[in-house]
């Protein structure tokens, strides 16, 4: 190699130009946020709902610790109103819990394991309630949630260091550029605007409809517990070792839909889904709250948004019911009670 000076001036100039652009950009974005000229940019991950919820939770934990998190698919997203849950819990136990519903549309149990780990690492909750349903363990729905766990920011928060994740975490200008990209993605924008309309500040997704149309073709024609989703379940259960109280919650479907939910048979729902899951988690000694049998008497037809989702009215009743169940579970679990009173956690 024979390099004669002057050499590299253009490259050096390009690097200087980039440094100037990036620093100026970072400064302008931060100043603009401080001056309320524009909002703090979202993460710009593959999922607008997660972006909104992470931003909201980041803000919340700056004000107060988050005690409990709910995690599941859209079924739990619309089923738990954390405000109602906390009020009822306080009435029963006298204890105030600050809760957030971090459920995400399309989430299945496999990715839920990763997201649960991320939430525990990042927000240190005392309790994590994982809401599950048969579709969360079906291979048919697995691919929908994959972009969530492949996302650089998610991987970065799960200690898989990568430049994209690091930049998303630390550079507001990078996030801002990412917003330009997602601004041109109509799917992302449609989900974002829907979420901004329907999400409550505590992460509760508010559905107000009431259409109970039952398609008599089986929703999951061939059901088998997917290995990847079972691993996700194991990952959530293992978080118990981090000192987090884990509760598994069966998220119900409309009773009239149950015969068509799993392989066109109500019995299959219990034998192919719920019983094997119960067997799987027995070893972890994690409470599993069943809800399907009681849902018929608890929720009226008018409280369903559709056969799989509750509307806000149904969510209110269900949240009260869940609060009672969890208070009961925690009352009987003396070890948990001790942990609770010792204010376990990093906050």
């Amino acid at each position: 190699m024979q390099i004669t000076p002057p050499f590299g001036g253009v490259l050096l100039g390009a690097i200087l130009f980039l440094i100037v652009v990036l620093l100026t950009g970072e400064g302008i974005v931060r100043l603009g946020i401080q001056a309320n000229l524009w909002p703090e940019p979202l993460l710009g991950t593959a999922n607008a709902e997660m972006d909104i919820k992470v931003q909201a939770l980041d803000r919340l934990v700056k004000q107060q610790p988050v005690d409990c998190l709910f995690l599941g698919s859209s079924q739990l997203d619309t089923a738990i109103n954390p405000g109602v849950f906390s009020d009822e819990y306080q009435k029963l136990t006298g204890e105030t819990l600050h809760c957030y519903n971090f459920s995400l549309g399309t989430l299945t149990a496999g990715p839920a394991g990763r997201i649960a780990t991320l939430l525990v690492y990042r927000y240190h909750p005392k309790m994590l309630v994982l809401g599950i349903s048969a579709r969360d363990f079906s291979r048919d729905f697995g691919e929908l949630a994959r972009p969530l766990t492949d996302d650089p920011w998610v991987r970065h928060n799960l200690t898989d260091q990568n430049p994209g994740g690091w930049l998303t975490e630390n550079s507001l200008f990078y996030r801002f550029l990412g917003q330009i990209r997602v601004a041109l993605d109509p799917d992302y924008q449609a989900l974002r605007s829907r979420m901004l309309q329907q999400l409550a500040p505590d992460g509760f997704l508010q559905y107000t409809g009431n259409t109970l149309t039952i398609d008599t073709t089986s929703f999951i024609p061939k059901f088998k517990l997917n290995a990847e989703d079972l691993s996700g379940l194991d990952e959530v259960m293992a978080l118990k070792d981090q000192g987090v109280h884990i509760i598994l919650l069966e998220v119900p479907v409309y009773p009239g839909f149950l015969p068509d939910y799993v392989e066109g048979s109500e019995r299959k729902y219990y034998t192919a889904f719920r019983a094997p899951v119960q067997n799987r988690i027995d070893v972890y000694r994690v409470p599993f709250i069943y809800s399907q049998e009681e849902i018929g008497s608890l929720i009226r037809d008018s409280q369903w948004n559709d056969v799989k989702h509750l509307n806000t009215s149904g969510a209110e009743s269900f949240s009260v019911w869940v609060a009672r169940k969890i208070a009961g579970v925690l009352q009987h679990d003396t070890s948990t009670h001790t942990i609770w009173n010792n204010e376990y956690g990093n906050h």
């Binding site: 190699m1 050096l12 993605d185």
Partner: protein, 489 residues
């Protein structure tokens, strides 16, 4: 039994991937510490390792090809009586190998075996070795050049091995000629300011074309649109076919720029492969600008020999055989080279028809060359070329005659709701414009020195923005590596 590909490779070392960056850094670091002879040995070892990184058998096949062609070339040069026989033996062996792997990869060999053996299938699927169709053509050209005494046969096995296996151009060319590459391999190579600057620029533009432009345009080519067009809206089908050629061009030109740039860091100048093909005024002009190293190979070793053969047999310029046979055979061979399918044969036949038409038009009395016509007419000529290319892209993209016909018919059938909304077209439209402007600048200033005619601060800004776009594309695409379309050939 279902054919299962065997996997023995260390990893598929895509050129755009972190493992390749480490490999390249190691190759360059050691290379510049060695004398020329050592450099060549080192580069050959690197090249064989690169082939083996895909599958070790690929390195064995490459090594065998080097050895066989080396020995045959020496026999051609040495032999007085049998040199023609050795040439044909060499051409035959290379062609047979190419046809075998081409047909095997398409499944025909397996089919024949099944028919002959009454149902027994190959237990493993035979894959086309990486770069095989490129270095085989290069070997044939070398044998012919030696036979015609355009070059002396290479006595040094290492140098000849490097000529065939040189890793920057191994997977998809450019298909080099002995008279261009061998002298560079034989001489002391200088890597100075110019080589580094031009190499760096070629690498940047290559990455930009592949990751930024092609990476953006590919969003308009949803998976399955050519195979199952009726699942998509009519407008989506039209967008897909209109965009396909420009996407393919940026993908392949991006690859070529990248490997030419990498090669310059070793002081070796590879041939260009593209010369703004969409500025072509007719189809003959298009083939002088698109995949040039293949086009020129086909011209020199298929087209011209057939033409000479016909002339020797007394076919004058206006005779139908002179007009039909050379382009037809040439483009059919090109089709088979791309893939042994009826669709690619039809693709070749259609291209040959275009060439015949251009040839006839150019022979008409009063014909004025497009280059001598007003600018607006030249633009219209280029648009006409693009329109003529559309049916050929259908054949190329669909992969089968039936699917291509189905796609073609679907263009004139309505239905479906568009997948793309106006917002989604903003980035691809911007990418199209950037592709066009990059072509325009490259046409004016040359591919290697596009940016160097600007004042220095402008150069820095252009390079800086280019780096920013490439880095953002890599970060946003969130994939560990990117493969090129033509490495499948």
């Amino acid at each position: 039994m279902t054919p299962q590909p065997i996997r023995f490779g260390i990893m598929n070392m895509e050129i755009i991937s972190l493992p390749f960056v480490y490999f390249l850094a190691a190759a360059l670091g050691v290379y510049h510490l060695l004398p020329r002879r050592g450099q060549n040995i080192w580069l050959l070892l690197c090249s064989l390792y690169f082939a083996a990184s895909w599958r070790w058998e690929f390195a064995v096949i490459l090594g065998s090809s080097i050895l066989i062609n080396y020995l045959i070339a020496r026999r051609i040069a040495a032999g007085i009586l049998h040199k023609k026989a050795w040439l044909w033996a060499g051409i035959g062996l290379n062609t047979a190998g190419l046809l075998f792997f081409r047909f095997a990869a398409t499944g025909y060999i397996d089919l024949i075996l099944r028919v002959l053996s009454g149902g027994t299938s190959l237990s493993t699927k035979i894959l086309l070795p990486i770069g095989f169709s490129f270095y085989t053509l290069q070997a044939i050209a070398y044998l012919v050049e030696v036979y015609q005494k355009q070059i002396s046969p290479e006595h040094d096995l290492v140098d000849f091995g490097l000529f065939l296996a040189y890793f920057p151009h191994l997977i998809s060319g450019p298909i080099e000629r002995g008279k261009n590459l061998l002298p560079q391999i034989k001489q002391n190579r200088l890597v100075g300011n110019n080589e580094l600057a031009e190499g760096g620029w070629l690498i940047l533009t290559g990455l930009f074309r592949k990751l930024v432009i092609a990476g953006t345009l590919v969003t308009l080519l949803p998976e399955g649109i050519f195979a199952r067009p009726m699942e998509f809206a009519a407008s989506d089908r039209w967008i897909a076919i209109l965009i396909y050629g420009i996407w393919l061009y940026n993908d392949f030109a991006g690859y070529t720029g990248l490997v030419r740039g990498i090669s310059l860091l070793f002081g070796i100048r590879l041939s260009p492969n593209f010369k703004q093909p969409f500025f072509a005024h007719n189809m003959l002009d298009f083939w002088n600008r698109w995949h040039m190293s293949l086009s020129f190979w086909l011209r020199d070793y298929i087209f011209f020999p057939i033409q000479r053969f016909l002339i020797r047999r007394g076919f004058s310029a206006g005779k139908p055989a002179r007009i039909i046979l050379p382009p037809l055979v040439t483009m059919l061979v090109s089709g088979i080279w791309h893939n042994a399918t009826l669709a690619l044969l039809a693709w070749g036949a259609l291209h040959s028809l275009y060439q015949m038409a251009d040839h006839l038009i150019s022979q008409k009395p009063g014909f004025i060359s497009p280059k001598k016509q007003p600018r607006w007419k030249q633009i219209l000529f280029s648009l006409r070329v693009y329109c003529l290319l559309l049916p050929t892209w259908m054949l190329f993209a669909a992969g089968s005659l039936k699917l291509a016909a189905g796609f073609c018919l679907s263009l004139f059938t309505g239905g479906g709701t568009t997948r793309f909304r106006l917002l989604e077209l903003v980035f691809p439209m911007a990418a199209l414009m950037v592709s066009f402007f990059l072509d325009a600048f490259q046409e004016k200033h040359g591919e290697e020195r596009t940016v160097f005619s600007f004042p220095r601060p402008v150069q820095s800004v252009v390079v800086g923005l280019g780096i920013l776009c490439v880095v953002l594309s890599i970060l946003w695409s969130n994939i560990p590596s990117a493969a090129f379309v033509y490495q499948g050939f």
